[in-house]
Amino acid sequence: MSTTMHKKTSLKTPRYRAPAPLGGRRNPAIGQRRKNFQALGFLLPALVVLAAFTAWPMISALRLSFTDASGFGKEKWVGFENYARIFTDPVIINAVVNTALYAVLFTPTAVALALALALLLNDPRLPFRGFFRTALFLPFIISLAVAAIAWAYLIDPHVGLLNYWLGSAGIRIGNVLQDPVLAMPAVAFVAVWKSFGFYMVIFLAGLQEIPGSLYEAAKVDGAGPFSRFRHVTMPMLSNTTAFVLIFALIAALQAFDQIYVMTGGGPYGHTETVVMQIYTSGFRKLDVGFASALSYVLLAATLLLSVIQFVFFGKREREGD
């Protein structure tokens, strides 16, 4: 197997040389088993940590979601009662609607902005490219909570610098975070500002994977800049786009920090999201069973949306081939 691979690749791309097979055992079967065993040994510490801190909490949360657990004392088995509550409680339904609104505001904006800036920064004619790349990536390094506090100060109606500047220009934006209509766009804006740099870097990496020969061929065929973007860049970027979209969507469904810091779910519930409800149910009301059920519903929704996206983009990629 490995020898045929070796021959094939060396024939097609002469610059690439596969590394020599490890070990060099006479009997490949024994070597393979030994290698597997060895690999397992190296992986074991990580697997143990993963099992203890990821798999085990997930399994116990699933069990808790069928109980009325509070975190201490005895717990009672309540069956699907917690799950039934999720679909009937108006507070939870409000949070689900808000989360959907947040995802609609955040995901396309962040991804489109990241793609546009990646295309711009990928152009070799642009001066100071390195500087711009770093500068635009910078917000991603800051903790989301810190960014949220800073933005909340900037737009504070009484002490905010941004409000002061806009006020001198005659623009009054009022108390944005207390406005039932503007509060959600405001927190989504901060999240976009904070994270588009990360998606941009992923897009940049994807753009650099596209062979220049494709563009040259397209140019020869008479394709203009838009046509080249439409027929070369987009299909070649579909994997990257799928990844970024799924990533951004998961981030949107898990929105918490910036909302907790900036509005605390207010004004009167207009920015309350599902994760905020999980936190409130678990830590404020000590209703751990319900919080676990809510977590599992969120997990299921996230998985479903990711699978849909994956299938959609996977299909497009196959069609593009």
Partner: protein, 423 residues
């Protein structure tokens, strides 16, 4: 040889990680006959914390049976870490928390029931201010001992009052609104005053006591005998009066929350503000010459919602520890200790037999002690008080934002009753 060694090390490391994980669950057993060692979590982080820690030290020195170790964390950290700590068996034996949080934990069985302790004549608990003791009742039983009880008071900026030609703080609602109008200054006439007569937060205030205080003043309430009483003509009138003052006369900014309200007063942009004892240190730090007065009397009553801190004994521990914790509470409520605690913390005395004159050494405490009689615990014993207060918060925010008051009251009445019914 080499390879099997690496595997061995890996396995060893893994089993080590496993054992260190499982080690956390085991609690420390208390040996029979030895000294009871208790841990005490509280969130008094300022000067009050030093006084409380001194009281604990003195208690430890006063006898040989019990030794209490104090762990200080901000209130919010205690609230966030108590649940995981208790469920892993590493929680504190005594914990102090904002009084409105006690029913949530008590209802889930996190605290030892203290009915017998309250009946014990040696416990000093019969000397408590009755309203403070009411705060500790959940489902008809006592679950905590108060370490603080104070009605909201009005803090006013003396310099701004002098500038407007006023000396005395208002005593009734009519005077209050008139004073607030007079103290509201819009120099450039742009519709946004530079100085507000009053900081009246419409949501997320400390213990959510501001609007309930106003409701009481006009004879209204939120919950009475386990029933929602939000939708009443009294409450409608109260909301009408204050929403008008905020929206039309701009006496206070709308959409204000507790933290922004504190800032508004401490930056000299609000002439009057409702708050607790901590406002005096906030005002002093910002060099504001302030006075303290009672919340002005409403048409029906002079009343203010009270803020409290409760101490509970967590039910994870054995009886010896419970007895030891009760011993500390008895010491804490002795007349001498209670007086020292009041003077040091800035909160009025918890015992009704300590008059204002006894705490005159601290003028803030003296002023607040005179108002103790107006204090009403907020939603005592209502287990889902968090949800009820959220509903009230929504009501006041939407009213101040200009929605129809009658509709809002009807809607809130339904949702509060539903919250009360779920438990």
């Amino acid at each position: 040889m080499n390879r099997s060694l690496t595997i061995l090390t890996a396995v060893a490391a893994a089993s080590l990680a496993l054992t260190s994980c499982s080690g956390t669950g085991a609690g420390q057993a208390n040996k029979e006959g030895s000294k009871a060692e208790l841990t005490f979590w509280h969130g008094y982080t300022e000067a009050d914390g030093k006084v409380l820690n001194k009281i604990v030290e003195d208690f430890n020195a006063s006898q040989g049976d019990v030794s209490i170790k104090v762990q200080t964390n901000p209130w919010s950290v205690i609230d966030d870490t108590l649940l995981p700590a208790l469920s892993s068996g590493n929680g504190p034996d005594i914990v102090a928390m904002p009084a409105e949080r006690l029913p949530v934990y008590a209802d889930k069985g996190a605290f030892v029931e203290l009915d017998d302790f309250y009946k014990d004549p040696a416990s000093n608990l019969d000397k408590l201010i009755p309203a403070a003791a009411d705060m500790e009742t959940v489902n008809g039983h006592k679950y905590g001992v108060p370490s603080g009880f104070v009605p909201l008071a009005m803090f006013y900026n003396k310099a701004l009052f002098a500038k407007a030609g006023m000396t005395a703080p208002p005593a009734t609602w009519e005077e209050w609104i008139a004073a607030a109008k007079k103290l509201t200054v819009d120099e450039n006439n742009d519709g946004t005053p530079e100085q507000f007569g009053l900081g009246l937060p419409d949501h997320a205030t400390v213990a959510n006591g501001v609007w309930p205080s106003l409701f009481y003043g006009n004879g209204g309430d939120i919950v009475r005998d386990g029933k929602a009483v939000v939708d009443s003509p009294e409450n409608a009138e109260t909301l009408q009066t204050w929403v008008e003052a905020i929206r039309n006369d701009k006496i206070s900014p709308s959409g204000l929350d507790g933290i922004a309200g504190d800032k508004l007063f401490s930056s000299g942009k609000a002439a009057m503000y409702l708050g607790g004892p901590w406002m005096s240190s906030i005002a002093a730090e910002s060099k504001i010459d302030y006075g303290i007065a009672a919340v002005p009397a409403g048409p029906e009553a002079q009343a203010a919602s009270a803020i409290g801190i409760s101490m509970g004994i967590t039910s994870q521990k054995d009886e010896a520890k419970t007895a030891a914790a009760q011993k500390f509470f008895t010491y804490f409520l002795q007349k001498e200790t209670a007086t020292a605690w009041s003077l040091g913390s800035g909160w009025p005395p918890l015992r009704s037999d300590i008059p204002a004159a006894d705490v005159a050494a601290n003028p803030v405490v003296e002023a607040l002690t005179k108002q103790s009689e107006f204090g009403r615990p907020l939603l005592p014993g209502v287990v889902n008080s968090t949800d009820v207060l959220t509903a009230v918060d929504k009501l006041t925010q939407r009213a101040v934002a200009g929605e129809n008051i009658q509709d809002l009251l009807r809607e809130t009445q339904t949702s509060v009753q539903k919250i009360l019914d779920t438990k």
